[in-house]
């Protein structure tokens, strides 16, 4: 025989089910998102992965709009890079190969994201490692705070009843004043 559920427990169960639903649907959401991205133009996608190398705008080639120049769109350099991508995509080159060709031509500076290899790999690792280390530090601090001994009761001879009575008397006088 099941016990009747009270309102609070029912609400807690609904909230729990809601959390489970969100967790369960999250991978689906991610999958749908990546499927959409796959269908997008490879050329446009690769254009956002390389910097415009004109040296003035500091933007991705696909997003280059050159503030302050006569045309608010890809400059000659960015257009050249986008054309290069278009040709290589048409030739059937893989994304990695296309990006590598840019690195060979301009150096690693051309990649908008830092490489995931060698020393530059640390740019990705450190921001993840530091909060974890900080978390560990916080945990240690919390343990120390919680583990700190309660103030010890003073040792030594007890207070005499006469002294206690005298102090109590003085305190009462203060209170009346």
């Amino acid at each position: 025989m099941t016990k009747p559920m009270n309102g609070r427990a029912r609400r807690a169960r609904i909230a729990g089910l809601g959390i489970l639903a969100l967790i369960a649907t999250a991978p689906v959401a991610l999958a749908l998102q990546s499927a959409g991205a796959d269908s997008a133009s490879r050329e446009a996608k690769l254009g956002t992965k390389v910097m415009c190398m004109c040296g003035t705008c500091n933007m991705a080639a696909a997003n280059c709009n050159h503030p302050g120049s006569s045309f608010s769109g890809p400059c000659d350099v960015a257009r050249g890079e986008l054309a290069q991508i278009r040709d290589r995509v048409a030739r059937g080159d893989s994304a990695d190969l296309i990006l590598q060709s840019f690195v060979q031509e301009y150096g690693p500076l051309v990649l908008i994201e830092p490489p995931h290899s060698g020393f530059d790999w640390t740019v990705w690792i450190v921001p993840a490692a530091v909060p974890l280390l900080a978390l560990l530090a916080v945990w240690i601090v919390l343990r120390r705070w919680r583990g700190r001994a309660a103030p010890a009761v003073a040792q030594g001879p007890g207070v005499s009843p006469e002294l206690l009575a005298r102090v109590r008397h003085a305190a009462e006088d203060d209170g009346r004043a």
Binding site: R8, R11, A12, I14, A15, G18, I19, A21, L22, T25, A26, A29, L30, L32, Q33, G36, M51, C57, N58, M59, A60, N63, N65, P67, G68, S69, S70, F71, S72, G73, D76, R79, G107, P108, L109, V110, L111, I112, E113, P114, P115, G118, F119, D120, V123, W124, V126, P127, A128, V130, P131, A134, L135, V138, V141, L142, W145, R146, R148
Partner: protein
């Protein structure tokens, strides 16, 4: 007149030096008169730097191009509004502007507290004077705005020269936000010098208790708010002027402004731990120090040119000076802390992991993680070049990947933290406070999942935004309900009463709401779309629910610029909705071009239209249109943030009520029921005040 300006700056430096040295001598020798005269010298700096600023403005407004700085940043056709703003358009003027704002803050601090805190204020004055000496040294000897143009006369002698007209102000700066964005940022940067000075003074003077925290709370909030508003204005300027459809590109200079704002936010939270429980004293002092150091680092990055940035108009060789100053300030901070570290011992211990204290710890941890990630990404290209010999780019994808999860966790803590009680929170209280907000957030999330384009982070952001909004609303509701039931007022009036009784707490909640709005606005980026098309009159472009019909292109001309302007009719569902006039302007004085974006803004989306100019290949006009969802939430969030901060700075009505009740009781009259005092605390279900 240039001599007058230079002389005023020199006198200001001497006054600051006297305030510094005289102040130290007065403190060490216990000579009150000397201390007082040092304080007066510190206040006089403001008057003297004001003279220099007025002098430079006089040159701008009278089109006197004998000064190199004026010739470089102004011209005759420049509207007066921008002539005023040209003061901070370049390196020398912006440093003078720094000095003036810093002197202004120092003046107000020293004047306001001149009869209070006799042990603390002399040290505060000395610290502020030390900072002023650095900036005034730059103003006088490294980057003076009063350098005159010189040329050889017929006799071969050097003489003051002038040019017929100046180079004009960079067109990108000829925009309303640019007139107020730099002052706001600089008010934030310089404002953080005040809590820094108080923290340093309290540490050096071993000032007892948490008094300095109470004194500087409002100062910190003022600086934090100015910096936040400055950042948002900068974002709005980038959005409305640069014409790329975005507002934040993780540019090093944008990051530099964000860093002290993040640590300032951490300080505003952790400082409550020290006030309420006497904990985190070392942490707080270092947060204040770090915030000020990051302010200096920010301005160093702006000027030193060590990282690539679109803010290239202020680069020069002053970087070395700033690095030297940074090193000195850091050394002073370390020594001051090391010598007085026993003064910073914690008074209390943590009673439970599920408590307000631990939520503040996590909040600080996450904020500092975000700050570190931004700093790390900003400076990594330099480190990489130093280690590997080749330079790399750390662009927006890195910052987005690293910071979005951190920011979302922070948003979660924004909802959780305020509902936890000081010392310990029971499981029952947790369930009671969080069940409905969590359920509400999840319900909205499920609906959005079904109906929207299902961007993962945007969905999580929406769920958390609803969760935080509901937790804050429930806090207001519970408090207001108690007051309404006891006082017989309606809920709205009771909510107002509740807010005024604890302005700090409820002002803080309103700031949290502002952060929610800003997050929602940022999440709209996930659904941004754009279309670019060559358009001749009569042609149309479709984007989202809009059809843009090109009517014609014409020219506009003023003394300051010549422009090409597009006239576009926007139709929604076949009906004419509005006209838009995006333009491209050419400024002959500086030989550069500016985009005038046309934006039709509504709460849910912006139609953002750029006249990109004529295509380099075909010569035809090109229109670039964007749909930017929810952007208005960001700007509206900024306004709410200002209102919340102002509210949090107001004195609380509760203290006045307590005094009134005590007086009534002492007169023997029937005292007012204690509900006015206890209602807020009872209603909050947490035992804290903040």
């Amino acid at each position: 007149m240039d001599v007058f300006g230079s002389f005023a700056l020199l006198l200001a430096l001497l006054a600051a030096a006297y305030a510094f040295i005289g102040g130290i001598a007065g403190i060490l020798g216990r000579r009150p008169l000397l201390t007082k005269s040092a304080r007066n010298a510190g206040m006089a700096v403001f008057a003297l730097v004001s003279c220099a600023v007025a002098c430079l403005e006089y040159f701008f407004f009278t089109d006197n191009f004998s000064l190199a700085y004026v010739a470089e940043h102004s011209n005759r056709a420049l509207p007066g509004f921008y002539k005023f703003a040209a003061l901070w358009a370049g390196q020398e003027g912006s440093l003078l502007w720094w000095s003036w704002l810093l002197a202004g803050f120092a003046f107000v601090v020293l004047a306001m507290h001149r009869k209070k805190h006799p042990e603390l204020m002399p040290l505060v004055g000395v610290t502020l004077a030390g900072i002023q000496i650095f900036f005034l040294t730059l103003n006088n000897f490294v980057a003076s705005p009063f350098h005159v143009l010189a040329g050889m006369n017929a006799a071969g002698h050097l003489q003051v020269a002038t040019v017929a007209d100046g180079n004009g102000l960079t067109p990108l700066l000829q925009y309303f936000e640019m007139v107020i964005h730099p002052p706001m940022l600089y008010l934030g940067y310089t404002g953080f010098a005040v809590p820094f000075a108080f923290a340093m003074a309290a540490l050096l003077g071993r000032y007892p208790g948490e008094k300095w925290i109470h004194i500087t709370r409002r100062w910190t909030m003022v600086a934090w708010c100015f910096l936040g508003v400055g950042i948002l204005l900068g974002a709005h300027w980038a959005y409305a002027v640069l014409g790329w459809g975005g507002y934040w590109e993780w540019d090093p200079v944008e990051n530099a402004a964000l860093l002290p704002w993040i640590t300032g936010t951490a300080f505003l939270h952790s400082v409550m731990m020290q006030e309420k429980r006497g904990m985190m004293k070392v942490w707080n002092v270092w947060l204040v120090f770090t915030t000020f150091l990051l302010c200096i680092l920010g301005t160093t990055l702006t000027r030193a040119g060590i990282v690539n940035s679109v803010h290239a108009f202020a680069q020069s060789s002053v970087g070395g000076w700033f690095f030297g100053f940074l090193a000195i300030v850091l050394a002073v901070c370390i020594v001051a802390w090391w010598k007085n570290r026993d003064y910073l011992r914690s008074d209390n211990q943590l009673d439970s992991l599920v408590s307000r204290e631990s939520s503040f710890l996590f909040n600080n941890l996450v904020l500092l993680a975000a700050c570190f990630a931004v700093l790390w990404g900003t400076l990594f290209p330099i480190l990489s070049e130093w280690v590997t010999g080749s330079k790399i780019s750390v662009g927006p994808p890195f910052f987005n990947k690293v910071n979005i999860p951190i920011a979302l966790f922070l948003l979660f803590l924004t909802g959780v933290g305020p509902l936890l009680a000081w010392r310990k929170t029971s499981f029952d209280a947790l369930r009671r406070n969080f069940a409905w907000p969590l359920a509400g957030g999840l319900a909205v999330g499920v609906v959005a999942f079904v109906l929207s384009d299902r961007d993962f982070y945007a969905l999580i952001c929406l769920v958390l935004a609803v969760f935080v909004t509901l937790t804050i609303t429930s806090e207001f509701y519970r408090g207001a309900r108690v007051i309404a039931s006891r006082g017989g007022t309606n809920l709205l009036a009771a909510a107002g009463e509740l807010t005024m009784r604890n302005t700090r707490r409820y002002g803080g909640y309103i700031v949290h709401l502002a952060i929610v709005l800003i997050f929602v606005g940022i999440s709209g980026t996930a659904f941004k779309t754009d279309v670019q098309k060559e358009m001749m009159p009569g042609q149309t472009l479709r984007i989202g629910p809009y059809t843009i019909l090109c009517q014609n292109f014409d020219q506009e001309a003023t003394d300051n610029y010549q422009g090409d302007r597009a006239t576009l009719e926007v139709l929604e569902n076949g009906r004419s909705k509005m006209m838009l006039y995006p333009a491209k302007r050419f400024f002959p004085a500086s030989q550069t071009t500016e985009t005038m974006v046309a934006i039709e803004s509504s709460p849910l989306r912006d139609l953002y239209v750029v006249y990109a100019g004529r295509s380099p290949q075909t010569g035809k006009p090109v229109i670039h249109a964007y749909i930017n969802p929810l952007v208005k939430f960001i700007w509206f969030g900024g306004i709410v943030m200002i209102l919340g901060t102002l509210l949090a700075m107001l004195p609380e009505r509760r203290a006045a009520l307590v005094v009134r009740e005590a007086r009534e009781a002492s007169w023997g009259s029937d005292p007012a029921p204690p509900v006015t005092v206890h209602a807020g605390a009872q209603a909050s279900r947490t035992d804290g005040d903040d």
